[in-house]
Amino acid sequence: MVDLNTYLVIGALLFSLGIFGVITRRNGVAVLMGVELILNAANVNFVAFARFGGMDLSGHIFSLFVIILAAAEAAVALAIILNIYNNMGTINIDEADQLKQ
């Protein structure tokens, strides 16, 4: 029988992978994918706690919300990346360092 710890470990792994992707990738789209991984790690945890933590359906509801939010976020983020590309001719986010100025 699979227990809670397995889910949590999988969630942590997913989270770490997501962070790794967000920090190391230069491609904007890849960064976005890392963010999705982080969100999904959170989803796994929500569902796992809902299943084993004695909670009712609120965990499932929350993960549904997160999935919808992720979709919206992806749309907005892709629009931003598209704009970066239009402005700079690249989607390499190392180039987008105007914050420095």
């Binding site: 962070i19 967000v22 920090i23 190391t24 960064v31 986010i93 190392d94 987008a96 360092d97 105007q98 914050l99 420095k100 100025q101």
Partner: protein
């Protein structure tokens, strides 16, 4: 009553403000503003006077006090005191002032600074009313200076003439000498009693807060103010020079009211004078009376005669205060105000006519004030002649006139004083001698001006009576010179009992130790001395007049002959006893030399070496401080050092800011991990 007093005080002030700011733009240069303001004060004064007569209460007195400012332990209070004396004085001031205002509308017609003149007349009226209404020494002092100022401004009205501006300065400075004494006196009383109010000062003196010696000194200091303002010897020199002002000003300020302020002050403060102080006062007054009378005998300028006559009469009033008959001093002040103002206005009328005549003949050389150029004017100027004659008779002390009543009472007081203290016999000689001379020089003036043959026919032909705005005041003042107005309700011209003597009650001295005679004793003594003094003064007045008739009307005795025989006294009198020259030589010139020496020291030594030296030292010091210390050390090292240090660290720290979002994220992550780690620990 207090409201009336405030209205009387403020009306002329409002007129002054209006005149000085917009007077020139008003129709008729705004003279009607001043005239109507003082006429209103006259109405109010008459109303107060009526109330006083209806009440007929010698004790009547309203005293209202306000705190002016309060500095904890020091509380300065001012206020208004209205008693019978105030009411009478207000009436005198406003009456003479109104008449002079009316007279001036004609006399000053066409003058360059017409509205300014009226503004200052109103300012004067305001200040004089202030002196009369004040219930405290400080208030009197303030208004005292204000009358001095307006007197200065009016004497110097024609300041294009050097003599006028000099006379104005002289009047101001000589008055200042007395005022300094007065200020010291006020401060002495204030330090001792802690108050400026008359009633507090009197109460303080009565309870012995000042020793007799200090009281004498303080009283004499206060009296110094009166010496200056009332032109008593040795500070009398400014008054004759003040005749440079327009004649109506002389009538108002230098005959009737301002110069009488000193007498009024002495009157108010009589209860605090010690016997020693009173003796000094009596001698100053008596000596001034005879001294000025001697000078008046030989003067040829019509206004100078009147000026010295005023000095002499003021001496009488001061003498009356000194011998204790001080209510009669005030009585003489009131009667004198009427006939002396009348005399001045008459002389103004004469001068006006002479001036006009010379002007017609294009003669700008002859002096319109010199009596030797006049003569025979009685046919041409009937009103002026008659009114002047009446006023002269009153001044000479002929029975049936007001002057007889008051002068007679003063002489009776002097006689009674001398009977008590035979060692002061000089005072009686001064008093009666001055009376003789007064009658003589006044009739000399009348005969030289109005009788005899005109000196120049063509001038005489051009003489005209003055307009009615000028003659109406003359008639009013001449009418007031009869006894009836002062003896009512009695009709006896030889009795000095009337509303005045009943309502103006003399008070006992508050000097501790019963050193002074009480008011009752003085009145008793005067009652006994009254008949001999009266007979003597009538005799003396008529002999003075007779002498003048002999010498100047019938010319049985030649004046020149006597002058040649008595050449030394004649010269002394003609040159006013060389008082001015003495002052010039022994006071003014040494002070000028001293001033020049001080100026030399100040400019050549102090300025050049000490002041400039200070500048040089400061410059050197500032260079050291500014360049070495401030710029090199403070600016370069400390201030810039702070900047440099900040720049150094910020150059290092700014490397963290890459602008790359991912780097920031790493820092955030590191931060979160740290938080967890620390929480775990």
């Amino acid at each position: 009553m207090v409201n009336y007093g405030i209205a009387i005080l403020l009306l002329p002030l409002m007129a002054f403000v209006v005149q000085i700011f917009i007077g020139k733009r008003l129709p008729r240069n705004g003279d009607w503003v001043s005239v109507s303001a003082v006429a209103l004060t006259l109405c109010l004064s008459l109303a107060m006077f009526g109330v006083m007569l209806v009440k007929y209460d010698p004790e009547f007195s309203v005293d209202e006090t306000w705190t002016w400012f309060d500095l904890g332990s020091l509380q300065v209070q001012i206020g208004i005191l209205i008693d019978n004396v105030t009411v009478v004085m207000l009436l005198v001031v406003s009456l003479v002032s109104t008449l002079v205002h009316v007279y001036s509308t004609a006399y000053m017609e066409g003058d360059l600074r017409y509205s300014r003149y009226f503004a200052f007349l109103s300012l004067f009226t305001f200040s004089m009313n202030g002196i009369v209404l004040a219930n405290n020494l400080l208030g009197i002092y303030i208004f005292w200076e204000l009358v001095g100022l307006s007197s200065y401004l009016l004497i110097g009205h024609w300041f294009e003439k050097d003599s006028a501006s000099d006379a104005a300065k002289k009047a101001f400075l000589v008055n200042r000498v007395g005022d300094i004494g007065m200020f010291i006196g006020i401060m002495l009383f204030f330090t001792a009693t802690g108050s400026f109010l008359f009633r507090d000062v009197f109460a303080g003196v009565e309870s012995g807060l000042l020793s007799t010696e200090i009281l004498t000194v303080a009283g004499l200091c206060l009296f110094a103010g009166a010496i200056g303002k009332s032109a008593q010897f040795p500070l009398h020199v400014w008054l004759p020079d003040a005749m440079e002002g327009p004649t109506p000003v002389s009538a108002l300020i230098h005959a009737a009211t301002m110069v009488a302020a000193g007498v009024y002050l002495s009157f108010r403060l009589f209860p605090i004078f010690t016997p020693t102080a009173l003796t000094v006062i009596a001698y100053i007054g008596g000596f001034t009376a005879i001294f000025a009378a001697i000078i008046a005998v030989t003067q040829n300028d019509i206004k100078k005669v009147l000026a010295y006559s005023t000095v002499s009469q003021l001496g009488y009033m001061i003498l009356a205060v000194g011998v204790g008959a001080y209510t009669y001093g005030l009585f003489h002040l009131v009667t004198h105000a009427a006939f002396k103002a009348g005399l001045f206005l008459c002389s103004g009328s004469v001068i006006h006519a002479m001036h006009y005549a010379y002007h017609e003949l294009h003669d700008h050389e002859s002096d319109p004030q010199d009596m030797r150029n006049m003569g025979g004017m009685r046919d041409k100027m009937k009103t002026t002649f008659l009114t002047m004659l009446i006023c002269t008779v009153a001044l000479s002390g002929v029975p049936f006139t007001s002057g007889f009543l008051s002068k007679d009472a003063i002489l009776a007081g002097t006689l009674s004083f001398t009977l008590h203290h035979p060692e002061h016999f000089l005072l009686v000689l001064f008093g009666f001698g001055a009376a003789l001379l007064t009658a003589f020089y006044m009739f000399r003036l009348i005969f030289m001006t109005f009788y005899g043959e005109p000196v120049r026919r063509e001038v005489y032909d051009n003489i005209h009576e003055s307009p009615s705005a000028m003659t109406a005041p003359l008639v009013t003042l001449a009418t007031l010179s009869f006894f009836l107005f002062f003896t009512l309700p009695y009709f006896n011209p030889f009795s000095d009992h009337g509303w005045f003597t009943v309502l103006i009650d003399s008070r006992d001295s508050v000097v501790p130790g019963h050193l002074n005679l009480t008011a009752h004793e003085i009145a008793e003594g005067m009652h006994h001395a009254h008949t001999p003094a009266m007979l003597l003064s009538i005799l003396i007045a008529f002999s003075g007049i007779g002498l003048a008739v002999f010498m100047y009307l019938q010319k049985r005795i030649s004046a020149d002959h006597i002058a040649a025989k008595l050449s030394l006294p004649y010269k002394l009198s003609l040159n006013k006893f060389f008082v001015d020259e003495t002052y010039q030589r022994y006071l003014i010139n040494p002070s000028l030399i001293l001033a020049r020496m001080i100026a030399f020291f100040d400019w050549e030594i102090y300025d050049k070496y000490i002041v400039n030296g200070f500048g040089k030292v400061t410059e050197w010091f500032s260079r050291v401080v500014g360049i070495r210390w401030d710029y090199d050390i403070l600016d370069q090292q400390i201030v810039d050092g702070v900047g440099r240090t900040t720049g150094f660290f910020s150059a290092r720290l700014r490397l963290i800011q890459t602008g790359k979002v991912q780097n920031y994220l790493v820092w955030v992550l590191a931060g979160v991990i740290m938080i967890y780690v620390f929480q775990a620990i």
